[in-house]
């Protein structure tokens, strides 16, 4: 192994981050388009323009979620076990809403009945808005800490409830996530569509980016002043294998700002989130569609990274029993597994990016009403 255990632990934090951001950057605009579908698309033709703007690529985009899930299982089994069983009801609602997407895209055009199509449009709307909402709420609750602990066999017990997740800060994070991906979807539509749809998307992008900006700033102030963070006070050597219970953790106000004080350069990350949102508004106003899309992508990455950096090295803090908190040091797989998986990611991730880029190149260009009319029976 060319890397020691500690380095690999940090690298895996970055990899999981890349997969989550990859998911938000790609499937994020699919969710955004889903949210807008019943509103921006006024006629069946317009709705088909929206659907076909993402039709050929959304499936690959969703695979980022599947892969992020699999990679979390492989690299952070305790996180996968604890978060997924703890957020059980939320995860189930997320799954049920995701069911509506593959079938919605494929089944909608197969019956030429407006009630049928309308029903699937609302299904796609639910599949577009619920997942970002739940993912955002979950992230918000990670920053607050969630109530779980382990027994001596490392069996997790979670004492919270679904409704306890819907606290003010959690909901704020959920709304931020929705606004952020709505922005991303709206800038995407500016690139992929023309005419009335493009104009509506532009207006939505401006409003959503402003909303995301306000929510992000409120969230930042709240984290700095309002909620307590977590801090490791003692733990075994980061290069060794150890269990979460082997460390001590305190809860302290302002502890989520530790990393920004320790590595001042990281302040650029939240700054990037803010600047990119402002830029998204401006570029949309100036009708620079492609640049606005790139900018909203940076905003998405900046916002997610801000949460990750604030939490670092925590992944899932426990409010019930702070030393049970999961961190990148103790929630990980063995040195060997992390090493093998490292090489696999190094081989496959560039390949994935390469062929994904090729697919996007093939389907480049605007989707128009004319295109839908010409491909009445083959387009989605």
């Amino acid at each position: 192994m060319i890397f020691d255990y500690e380095t690999l632990k940090v690298i895996w934090w970055a990899f999981v981050g890349v997969l989550i951001i990859g998911f938000a950057l790609t499937d994020g605009f699919d969710f955004g388009v889903g949210m807008m579908l019943p509103f921006v698309g006024k006629t069946d033709g317009e709705r088909r323009v929206l659907i076909n703007s993402i039709g050929a690529t959304w499936e690959g985009n969703q695979t980022w979620l599947v892969t992020a899930g699999g990679a979390t299982f492989a690299a952070w089994p305790l996180v996968y076990a604890t978060a997924f069983s703890g957020f059980y009801i939320a995860l189930m609602v997320l799954l049920f809403s995701l069911f509506l997407r593959p079938v919605g895209f494929d089944f909608r055009n197969k019956v030429a009945d407006m009630r049928w199509r309308n029903a699937w449009d609302w299904g796609l709307f639910i599949g577009g808005i619920v997942p970002p909402l739940i993912c955002g709420v979950a992230f918000g609750n990670l920053l607050l800490g969630v109530p779980f602990h382990y027994d001596d066999t490392m069996r997790v017990e979670y004492t919270g409830s679904f409704f306890a997740l819907l606290n003010p800060f959690g909901l704020l994070a959920g709304l931020l996530s929705v606004a952020m991906l709505l922005t991303h979807g709206a800038t995407f539509l500016q690139v992929k569509t023309e005419g009335a749809i493009e104009q509506r998307a532009r207006a939505i992008a401006i409003v959503a980016a402003l909303a995301a900006l306000v929510l992000f700033v409120i969230g930042g102030v709240w984290i700095a002043l309002g909620i307590d963070g977590y801090r490791i006070t003692a733990m075994p050597d980061a290069n060794s294998a150890f269990m979460p219970l082997a460390k001590t953790v305190t809860i302290a106000s302002g502890a989520w700002m530790d990393n920004y004080a320790r590595w001042p350069l990281t302040k650029l990350i939240p700054a990037l989130g803010i600047a990119a949102l402002v830029l998204t508004v401006l570029l949309s106003v100036w009708r620079k569609a492609k640049l606005a899309f790139v900018s909203s992508g940076f905003a998405v990455a900046g916002i997610i990274l801000t949460a990750a950096i604030s939490l670092f090295p925590f992944i899932m803090p426990s409010s019930l029993d702070p030393r049970s908190s999961l961190t990148i040091w103790d929630a990980v797989s063995s040195h060997k597994t992390l090493g093998i998986m490292f090489w696999l990611v190094l081989v496959f991730l560039p390949l994935i990016l390469l062929y994904t880029a090729w697919v996007y190149r093939v389907v480049r260009g605007k989707v128009t009403l004319q295109h839908i009319a010409d491909n009445e029976h083959t387009a989605y």
Binding site: W58, T63, S85, Y88, P102, D106, M243, Y355, V359
Partner: protein, 536 residues
């Protein structure tokens, strides 16, 4: 706190429901994708448009099925964490890796290109589009490979060791996990079963058009490809039966004995019980009809290896459970701080039986204080109920031979150019469409029910693997799955039947039955040709 029995049972039921349901769509995706590759390859090589139409029409049906496969597959990716969190912690170091690789190396390939398969016809050259179709097929079969490597490891957990410091199994050899003989056999058997399913699907629907004498050129070509592909696939399913992997690993021996209702160890090579009524209480198969020698040949691929009977397996298991109790006691000492070399050495000697000790957790949380009655109960637990396995397996095998007959007969009459008069065969093919699904689900029951009481054979009992959840959460999720899945299945079936009945006319090329019929009608009738109602 361990999950209560109700939660364990509901979690098992939910996993069975979601996995069996997902497996309604997987086999067709696995096989139909290759059939599309074959059809499109003929189109690219010959330039004959009918093969393009075939690719596109069967591709439409593929799409309806694929959407359901994607929707239901997500559940399985999440469910290990939501419902089997102790399992996820205990074996995630090994089990998570094939799942992650499946995502990166297979599912990404399949889902990135599947969109272009449907929407890329005008944007790609012929060869490029064929390559896209090929990558979708390759991705889906590779996906099955990695999932079955994970599943094979559950049945024969090689290349891993228990680490008492982290209280979990940890990876020792990735190549052992990948080249696990059980995984390899499972992969070939399962994938080939998928190919059979798709071949029967195409064969049966084509037979329907032939019976109705509609679009016969189209139907005959589809029928021919399905017959050839199906014959080859059925032969591989039968010859490379899953059972041949069952000699590897202790728990697979149990599975084999239970499938065959082998209560006693017979002198090699053992005879096979073709029929009988297995009775768990008396440990005897009533009215057994046996063929000598055959089981030994199939099960061990040799004439002199014994297949151990259930009664003897139980004796072995009692020894292992008693060793497991000692292993558990030593583990407790290790965890309380006594990490002397002597204690470690003692644990290393016993730890392969730790899982058998954990079986006692169901009866006594301390394991070490188990009474002889509790040990006897745990020993009984190590053998799954025999009758469900015995009958599922026989159902599967019977269907396998039926498929062999249908594909052979189809192939024979096709080559003799005497297919059209064989209406019985066409009807048989049509009505056999659902049967490969039944065979596949029976196969799942044999493989997974047969592994009980373990999630990881010999290492982690099922009742310890489940998440400690509230029963209410499980009733909510189970009800949600049943409602959603039933609704989606009804919608899927309606669409599938609608498009299958409409046939290639649904491509709107103007060259097929319903559209030609429309053209021949007097111009006053401007309405679309009637889409046959699924219920009619």
């Amino acid at each position: 706190m361990l999950p209560i029995d109700e939660v364990v049972n509901l979690s098992r039921l939910q996993f069975a429901v979601t996995a069996l349901y997902h497996f309604l769509f997987v086999p067709l995706t696995l096989g139909l994708s290759w059939i599309l590759v074959i059809m499109e390859a003929v189109y690219v090589m010959t330039g004959s448009t009918i093969y393009k139409d075939m690719t596109r029409f069967w591709g439409k049906l593929f799409g309806i099925n694929f959407a359901m496969g994607v929707a239901t597959g997500l559940t399985l990716e999440f469910q290990f964490g939501t419902n089997w969190s102790y399992y996820s912690h205990y074996v995630g170091d090994i089990f998570g890796t094939p799942l992650a690789i499946e995502g990166m190396a297979a599912f990404f390939l399949e889902s990135t290109f599947v969109g272009l398969f449907f929407l890329g016809w005008d944007r790609l050259s012929r060869v490029q589009h064929l390559m896209v179709t090929f990558l979708v097929a390759l991705g889906s079969s590779l996906s099955a490979l990695w999932i079955l490597i994970a599943n094979g490891w559950m049945n024969n957990p090689v290349g891993a060791e228990f680490n008492f410091e982290t209280m979990r199994m940890e990876l020792v050899s990735m190549s052992d996990v990948i080249f696990n003989p059980v995984a390899q056999v499972k992969f070939v058997h399962t994938v080939a079963a998928g190919y059979v399913t798709a071949a029967m699907f195409v064969l049966g629907i084509s037979a329907y058009y032939l019976l109705k004498a509609r679009d016969t050129a189209f139907a005959l070509r589809s029928f021919a490809i399905a017959a050839g592909f199906g014959l080859a696939a059925t032969l591989s399913v039968i010859v490379l039966g899953d059972e041949s992997g069952y000699t590897a690993g202790e728990v697979n021996k149990v599975k084999l004995a239970a499938i065959e209702a082998e209560w006693e160890t017979q002198p090699a090579p053992a005879g096979i019980t073709v029929f009988g009524l297995p009775n768990d209480k008396t440990q005897h198969t009533d009215y057994a009809v046996k063929i000598p020698y055959v089981l030994g040949l199939i099960g061990t691929r040799s004439v002199d290896t014994q297949i151990i009977g259930i009664k003897d397996l139980k004796k072995e298991h009692e020894v292992r459970i008693r060793n497991g109790m000692i292993a558990y006691a030593v583990l407790t000492r290790l965890k309380s701080g006594d990490k002397s070399p002597a204690t470690r050495a003692e644990f290393d000697k016993l730890k392969q039986d730790l899982g058998y000790g954990l079986l006692l957790k169901k009866y006594t949380p301390n394991v070490v204080d188990a009474t002889p009655e509790q040990i006897a109960k745990a020993v009984d637990d190590t053998i799954p109920k025999v009758a469900p396995l015995f009958w599922s397996f026989r159902g599967m095998v019977f269907l396998g031979f039926l498929f062999l007959f249908i594909f052979s007969a189809s192939f024979y009459f096709l080559v003799r150019k005497q297919l059209a008069p064989q209406r019985w065969l066409l009807r048989l093919a049509l009505f056999s469409i659902p049967l490969p699904w039944i065979a596949a689900e029976l196969g799942w029951v044999v493989a997974e029910y047969g592994r009980q009481p373990w999630t990881i054979a010999g290492i982690l009992p099922t009742h310890l693997s489940a998440s400690t959840l509230q029963p209410g959460s499980l009733y909510f999720s189970l009800a949600g799955f049943i409602l959603f899945y039933t609704f989606l299945l009804v919608v899927e079936m309606i669409l599938m039947i609608k498009y299958a009945r409409r046939g290639p006319s649904s491509l709107h090329t103007g060259n097929y039955h319903w559209e030609l019929e429309e053209q021949n009608k007097p111009p006053t009738s401007r309405a679309l040709p009637p889409i046959p109602h699924p219920a009619s």
